[in-house]
């Protein structure tokens, strides 16, 4: 069974699309004193360009660990990570920083915005490190904020924004460098249902514009916003299947608003 799944993962047909990100035999072991925690055990995963993928699994199954590794924030104990054909596992920290900056955008469950820093400045941050300055930087940051519907909140500080708005700032920050891939770890985890639908709408829109989206979630409904679901359990891939009835967030909004209003 395991062999089958693995074969399926590596051979997942991208059709004519190329593989934008690939994990080969990735393991991660944490050493906690006497105990070794095997967070990932030999994960193979290939992500096709322009697709939307959900990484699903119960809490503790290794989803976040895998996302951090394919996002180049963390290194695997074993195995390799390939970004757009380039083996990155042995790159120096500064080279990894450059790849993250140019090709990858992150959205975290806890937003991870800089406190006491305006929405605009937060979105400008990746451009600062990309060496973009002056008018172009603020123009691009404004555009990104407008794209997530926050054109009128540019000067607001994170603590002056709702959770949903903060997460949208984080999405604007992730897409401002025009990355090829956006990695979102439980992006709706801290949000109310309506804000969650809005965030999912934006992520699907990004994907429709050709950006590859990887969605990490333990929620089946959220996962079904993607085209494909890869399930993890105990650090291993246990299934990899296409989503038959993909959910369109934009179509669900009215229903969710009504439901939320009814409850409130």
């Amino acid at each position: 069974m395991e062999d089958l799944v693995r074969a399926g993962a590596t051979n997942e047909p991208c059709d004519d699309a190329r593989v934008v990100l690939e994990a080969r035999g990735v393991s991660k072991t944490y050493h906690l004193g006497e105990v070794d925690v095997h967070a990932l055990r030999g994960v193979d995963l290939s992500i096709c360009d322009g697709r939307m993928l959900s990484l699903m699994g119960p809490s503790g199954s290794g989803k976040s660990t895998l996302m951090h590794i394919i996002g180049l924030l963390d290194r695997p104990s074993e195995g390799s990570v390939i970004v757009e054909g380039e083996e990155v596992s042995r790159m120096a920290p500064n080279e990894l920083a450059a790849v993250r900056n140019r090709r990858i955008g992150f959205v975290f469950q806890s937003f991870n915005l800089l406190a006491r820093t305006s929405a605009l400045a937060n979105v400008e941050l990746p451009l600062v490190y990309a060496g973009v300055s002056g008018n172009e930087r603020s123009r691009r940051a404004r555009e990104a904020l407008e794209r997530v519907g926050l054109g009128d909140r540019m000067g607001h500080l994170p603590n002056q924004l709702s959770g949903g708005q903060q997460q949208r700032v984080a999405i604007a920050r992730a897409l401002v460098t025009e990355p090829s891939i956006v990695l979102a770890d439980e992006p709706t985890g801290n949000l109310d249902s309506v804000s969650g639908v809005d965030v999912m709408t934006i992520l699907q829109e990004l994907n429709a514009h050709g950006i590859t989206v990887v969605l990490v979630t333990h929620d089946d409904t959220v996962a079904r916003h993607a085209e494909r679901i890869v399930r993890l359990r105990d650090g291993m891939v246990v299934s990899d299947e296409a989503v038959a009835d993909r959910i369109r967030a934009s179509e669900r909004r009215d229903a969710v608003v009504e439901e939320a209003g009814g409850e409130g």
Partner: protein, 397 residues
């Protein structure tokens, strides 16, 4: 990312913690202000003494009782148990050195003056009839004391500018009577203002024959003997001859310094003193630097998550490093600039009591040193920050 960007980030971070930034800067401010102030005092005093020694006239030789020079029997605390000179020793020198060289026995002491209902305390500097020639001085009115007045212990007095202004405002003092320690003297002259001096206000002084001054003070001793060489070339040979004359009477228990040597000794002592003061002040600057390091370490651990976020979106080691180094340097340089301003201001206020001089090199040194302190004590925390693992930094609570 360029330097300007790093500076903007650093300034924003410092601005977000105004009180903490100000308190951290205070350490450097105090250190730099102390360096500037103490060096200013040292330099000012040194200049003052140099000026007053040079202002005494030229080609001077000073003879002190007690062995202040190096050599066998030297090093003892001269002047305490040593036999002092008397006027006779000065007369002997004058006879043996010849009339072309002027010899003046000098004594100084405090006394009180009264004219009508005005009284004041002042210092007397007394010599013989050669004093005017040896030490100079511009007479605004009257004259100096004469040889006959010295031998007769005549109660005549010459007033410094301050004394004249206090006791004889708007009147010509020459020929007036004045009470000195209760004895009646006659003013025979007054001199022009010369400006301040370390040994007190030179203008707050009076001059009189040494013979009458000894009686007022109640001694037959002489503080020092000054000799003015007829020619600059004579100074060295004259020093030798003075030693020959005095050795049979005093052995090694006397010292002969030329004006240049005296100057050199003072400058050496004061230079060392200035250096020590700067060193002590430098220690407080060092303490300020440690304060910066402490705060930067706190700041790095407080902002671990921020560092993680920056790294996640593409900050390189260098970007984080420069951000924190610039923060530390901004703190120390801003502290340095404020410290220099306060030190210079303090020096200006202090000139009322002590001569001070703020020199360019002291300012440059303090500035460089404070920037150096920022770099030195900022690099370690910045290095720590730049080395943080991005994922561990992001997970930090």
């Amino acid at each position: 990312m360029n330097l300007l960007e790093s500076m903007r980030i650093a300034l924003r971070a410092l601005n977000a913690n105004k009180v903490r930034s100000a308190l951290t800067m205070l350490g450097v401010i105090i250190g730099v202000a102390a360096v500037i102030l103490l060096v200013a005092i040292g330099t000012g005093v040194q200049d003052e003494i140099t000026g007053s020694i040079e202002g005494l006239g030229s080609n001077l030789i000073f003879v002190f009782a007690g062995n202040f020079e190096e050599g066998p029997g030297g090093g003892g605390p001269g002047g305490i148990s040593t036999r002092q000179f008397t006027i006779e020793d000065a007369d002997l020198l004058q006879r043996r050195l010849g009339p072309e060289h002027a010899v003046v026995p000098v004594i100084q002491g405090p006394l009180s003056l009264r004219v009508g209902n005005r009284t004041m305390r002042t210092t007397v500097a007394a010599g013989n009839e050669n004093a005017g020639e040896v030490f100079g001085g511009d007479y605004l009115g009257g004259r100096g004391y004469r040889r006959s007045e010295v031998s007769a212990s005549a109660r005549v007095i010459v007033l410094g500018a301050t004394v004249r202004d206090r006791l004889f405002p708007n009147t010509d003092p020459v020929g007036e009577a004045i009470s000195v320690n209760g004895q009646r003297f006659t003013v025979i002259g007054h001199v022009a203002a010369q400006g301040g001096s370390l040994t007190g206000d030179q203008d707050n002084q009076v001059y009189m024959p040494i013979t009458v001054a000894q009686r007022l003070i109640g001694t037959t001793d002489v503080g020092l003997i000054a000799v003015k060489a007829a020619d600059a070339e004579d100074v060295e040979s004259l020093q030798r001859r003075i030693r020959q004359v005095l050795r049979p009477r005093f052995g090694d228990e006397f010292s002969v310094f030329s004006q240049d040597q005296t100057l050199g000794i003072f400058q050496q002592i004061l230079g060392t003193l200035t250096f020590m003061l700067a060193g002590i002040a430098g220690i407080s600057l060092l303490v300020g630097g440690i304060g910066i390091m402490n705060i930067m370490l706190v700041s790095v651990s407080e902002r671990t998550r921020e560092i993680g976020i920056r790294k996640a979106v593409g900050a390189r080691t260098y970007d984080i490093m420069s951000q924190f180094v610039i923060e530390a340097v901004t703190l120390s340089v801003a502290g340095g600039v404020v410290g220099i301003a306060i030190g210079a201001l303090g020096a200006r206020v202090l000139t009322q009591w002590v001569p001070t001089e703020v020199t360019a090199w002291a300012v440059a040194l303090a500035f460089t040193f404070s920037a150096g302190v920022g770099i030195f004590f900022g690099v370690y925390p910045a290095y720590k920050a730049s080395r943080l693992d991005p994922i561990e930094a992001l997970r930090y609570e």
